[in-house]
Every structure is written in structure tokens, then in C-alpha cells.
Symmetry: C2
Subunit: 340 residues, 2 copies
């Protein structure tokens, strides 16, 4: 264990170059010959030298860090998005601070409770569904903000078209010949999510185009909500032949109830989710893929672009969704759709 | 949008107190009257003032950040651990930097590639299964290191007893009356995991105590490995009546093969996992819970304790595991075990 950390001067001495050359190489600046670059990197490696962000920040005014704000870290989705953001930031030699807002989200002033100011060069929010007021609060931090999972005019946003995704999913079920298609959505107490609203709208629009009335059930989110909603649908006078869930998590709860009740999927009821959750493949669940890793990567790169002055702060990036057909959806018995 | 961020002086002026009082309140130091503390906090809130870590770091020598190093961010497990670490660090007003080592893990010198030195006050590694040499490399960073998912003598470690967990799982299957119990493990090319080794040993020991020979199959990790291994077991001259998988992910792949092959679970084959993955409940999978959130919380609190000088740097925290009985395990047909 070395008690005295190596300085940039030590690296310059060992590599036999000037201090400014070391600085150029370590900042990744151009104009240094490849062999010199290699020599400096090797010397830095040998001395276990790493640039001190604090010291370099005082010179450049940059912290070398990007703050990523998520509501929760536990759901699968956020880990995958963070993985993409992390890879993009690493490419640019930026560090990633992660803030889990959690229950404080409901509290007034949570944006001020985060130590973002002068601790990060940019803020990325993931599925935070920020209000206009909250966006202004983040502006007060004084660094660029990139919104993931939310599309706000005039603000850097990376998002999917939830309406189109849900409408496509509904059309898949319609095309198979289903007409009794129920929708299970998440009902939240604390705040309403734009994505939730858009998915429900997409479902409703596709049903309307087919001349059908929407049939939606709102319960708590997650497995538990899916179980309750499926229980309600199975108790209907005339149960649906197909069910679309707002999230795969909800679809998984519904799947469990169907399995326990001995209702065959897709024999008796077709079931479709949205997300392409890690575990959706295990259940052979047909779903809508929204590529969270690619979304994270795109958000990270947009952030780097904005910091480098190469991207505008009102850039919108719409990520594609695609329907992943698995074995949980099929034509209803006696259908007159595509499959007869 | 304020163009000029508020300074500590502005806060002092607005609250009508001295600069040092503001400093005391914002550092959470004792000896300030409650009403004064409230006034300062309100003034800081109103001015959207947040302590600059860089500036305060130059005074205290602390960065106010803890670096958490994970191999990957995508698997469910890491998000849950990070959630616990994050909550513990928030309690102590510390920020969390996250480094995803990913593919660079296999490369020599990855510990030096991370900008840890002088960027963080401590390093937490999660399921990195560090070698002695890698531990020494991290020592070079010059800050305390806390190992999660790994127990190393003389080093701060938070871990579960993988041997005991796997032995308990095996005994559950033995007690049900199974004797043909196969084990599916993850075989890795890059580096061997201590946890993998311990789980296999726990299974082997419980089998030996029952006077049975171990029967283990090693494939790639994840769903794909579980599918391949289950295919192999189903092609055996005399297939097992029970299968224990090293991870729930592997068990899920095995479950899919059993479902597709029409083999009833637990009617024909009992299946058990290890982890209590998010999706294990959906599949009604019996498993071993290892409480990753609690592990993250314990690791975060141990880190804070070490930084505050209240915990030793060789503290070992063993987290409990518990067997979660669901509907994927039952007595074999014609069993003479507990259930007859």
C-alpha cells in the first residue's frame, strides 16, 4: 500500500515527458503521438495514478460526473437503463452518480434535497415523469438535464412512443381475431404517469379503430395488481379472450392466476405484456420490447454530446419498440381473424 | 433559472446568522439551536443552495462519495443490492458513484482503470470475487474497501453462507424423500466464483451425509444454461426426481424446458432455485432467499461505520438465508420421506 499517492509530476518524470503532455494524454486531448500516449498511460498505470476529479475540477470547472436520478433501483428496468448510461459515460471518461429518490418523490422539494449542484456536470432523470415545476427546479441546479422515459417539448428527451407500442400490441390481438380484449393498467395514488396514460390511450385508439369499446381494469402495479385484475376478469359474466397488461410485471401476476386456475394460455386466454422483462422469455410471454439498455446508452451519449457542445439541449430521441411474439398469444377458438 | 448559484454567504445573510453557523448546520454538526438550524435550512432551501462537494472536500479531505463497483448492472440482483447501499449512504449524506466493470473484469489491471483515487472515500465491491492481488490493487487507492458477496479474512466483508444455504436446500429435497437429486451449476470460463464453489460444496456435503453420491451438471449461467442442463438430465437413462439450481435464473430456464416437455412440476420433477429472484414467485419456484436489499443496506452502513471510525476494517457480517417453500417442490411418487 503506497502511503503517498503518485502525482501527475511523478507520471511525467517516469514517462520522460512534460507535465502538459501528461495532462493532454490523461484528458484524452488530441495531438499526442501514439507511442508517447502509450508511454504516459503505462507510467500512470505503474504508479496507480488516477486523475483527481476534485483537483482537475478546479481548473476546468467540470466535475467529471453525471448524476442519474431514478425513482427506484430495485425493478429490473432501472438496472438495465443504468447499464446503458454507464457504458456511454465510460466512453467519455465520465463518472456516474446514482440517486434513488424513492419515497421522497412524493415530497415537495425533493429536487432540492439532492446534492446535485456543483457535484455533477449534467443530470439524467429516468422515468421520473417530472412536472413542469420540477423541471424548473432542476434547471436551478445550473447544469443540462436529460429526461429519459418522458418527452417534454424544448427539453432533451429520450423516450419510446408508448401510444404506438400499446396500439400495435392491441392490433396484434385484434388481428388474431380477438374482440373481447381487456387491458390491465397500473393505478397509482401518488402521481399519474404519462407513460401509463399513453399506453392506455394507444390501446383505446386501436380498439376504437376496430369499432370496439375499451375494457380496462386498473389495480396496483406489479404481480399483486395483475393477480387482482385477472381475478376480476375471470369473474366477469363473459370473460375476455385476450388480455393486454401495461407492464410485464402485471402480466406475470395475471399469468400465475391463470396457471393456478387451470385456464390455458393461450388456449383459453391470450396474454400479452409490455417491456420485454428479463423473465418474460421464461414465461413465453408475448410482449413489446422497449430496449432499455439502448435507451440508457442513447441518453448517456446525448448527455455527453450536450456537454461537448455537439448536441442541442432540446434534442428528442425516440427509441423504437418492437413486438416480440412468443407462445402466450394465439387466435381465439373459432376465430375469423388472420389465423383461420 | 438563476444564473449565479447562491453561496454560503448568501444563505448566512438570508438566515441572519454567521457563516460558521451555516457551515455547522449544513455539515450536520451538533451545537446549533433547533430554531436556528430550521432557519438556515429554510434559507438554503429558498436559495436552492447545496454544499459543493468539491469545495468542502478541500477543507475536510473527504469527497462525500462512496464508489460501488459491480460486474454488471443488468441482472436483477445488482439493482436490489445498490438500492440498499444507496439508502444507507443517503442516511449518512454520502453520494454513490457506480462503476460497472463488465467485460474489462477479465483484463489485467482493471482496478487501476477505475478513477477511484481521490474521487471516493470508500469502495464497495459487489460479487466481484476479488483475488488477493486485486484486493491489494484496491488497497492502493488508499481508502477503505468493503467486500459484498465475498468473505475474506482481515477484510470488511458482507456475505451469505452459500454452503449452508445450498446444504439446507438439498436437505429440503432429501427430507421430501428424494434420492436422485441433480445439481445444475454455472460453469464460467473467465474466472471461478467462490460462491459457485461453496454452493456446490454445500450440495455435495448434504448428499454425502445422506450417503448419496453427488450428481452435478455444469453449463453456462442464466436461462440458456438451465435449458441445456435440463435437456441433458431429461435424456439420462434414469432422470432425477429433483433438481437444485445454483441460481433462480438457471432454474427458470430448466422450468421452461420442463413446461415445454410436458413434465409436471413438482408432479414428476421437483425444482428448486437459489436467490429468491423477483420472478421466482411468479413461477411458484421454491428457492433460497438471500435478501440482497438487506445485504446492500448492511454493506452501506458498515462503510459509513468505517468512515466514522466506529467499525473496524476487518468486520465480517454474515447475512442469513432462508428457504422459501413454494409449489415447485414436493415428495416424489411413492416416497418414504416426511410426506408419506
Amino acid at each position: 500500500m503506497s502511503s503517498q499517492p503518485a502525482s501527475m509530476r511523478d507520471v511525467a518524470h517516469r514517462a520522460g515527458v512534460s507535465l502538459s503532455t501528461v495532462s493532454r494524454v490523461l484528458r484524452g486531448a488530441p495531438g499526442v503521438a501514439p507511442d508517447v500516449r502509450l508511454r504516459v498511460q503505462r507510467a500512470a498505470d505503474e504508479l496507480s495514478y488516477v486523475v483527481s476529479r476534485n483537483a482537475s475540477g478546479l481548473v476546468t470547472g467540470r466535475t467529471g460526473r453525471v448524476a442519474v436520478v431514478v425513482p427506484f433501483l430495485q425493478p429490473w428496468f432501472f438496472g438495465v437503463v443504468l447499464s446503458g448510461v454507464s457504458d456511454a459515460l465510460r466512453e467519455a471518461d465520465l463518472d456516474m452518480l446514482v440517486y434513488q429518490v424513492g419515497e421522497t418523490r412524493a415530497r415537495e422539494g425533493w429536487t432540492r434535497a439532492l446534492p446535485l449542484r456543483r457535484n455533477s456536470d449534467a443530470v439524467v432523470t429516468v422515468s421520473m415523469d417530472l412536472s413542469e415545476d420540477e423541471c424548473h427546479r432542476l434547471d436551478d441546479v445550473g447544469v443540462p438535464v436529460v429526461l429519459v422515459g418522458q418527452c417534454v417539448p424544448g427539453r432533451a428527451s429520450v423516450y419510446i412512443d408508448d401510444r404506438a407500442g400499446a396500439a400495435g400490441a392491441t392490433r396484434h390481438l385484434l388481428n388474431l381475431g380477438h374482440t373481447r380484449i381487456a387491458y390491465i393498467g397500473a393505478r397509482r395514488e401518488e402521481w399519474s404517469s404519462t407513460s401509463s396514460r399513453h399506453r392506455l390511450e394507444g390501446y383505446g385508439a386501436a380498439m376504437a379503430t376496430a369499432g370496439l369499446a375499451p375494457w380496462s381494469v386498473g389495480k396496483a402495479t406489479g404481480h399483486a395488481g395483475g393477480e387482482l385484475a385477472m381475478g376480476e376478469l375471470l369473474s366477469d359474466q363473459d370473460p375476455p379472450t385476450a388480455v393486454l397488461a401495461e407492464f410485464d410485471d402485471i402480466a406475470m401476476g395475471a399469468h400465475r392466476i391463470l396457471r393456478r386456475s387451470g385456464v390455458r394460455v393461450p388456449g383459453s386466454i391470450s396474454l400479452m405484456g409490455f417491456d420485454n422483462h428479463d423473465a418474460a422469455a421464461v414465461l413465453d410471454l408475448t410482449t413489446v420490447d422497449q430496449a432499455p439498455y439502448d435507451t440508457g446508452l442513447a441518453a448517456g451519449r446525448l448527455t455527453v454530446g450536450i456537454l461537448d457542445g455537439k448536441a442541442r439541449t432540446d434534442t428528442h430521441v425516440e427509441m423504437p419498440t418492437q413486438i416480440i411474439l412468443r407462445q402466450s398469444t394465439a387466435a381465439p377458438r373459432g376465430a375469423r381473424g388472420l389465423s383461420t
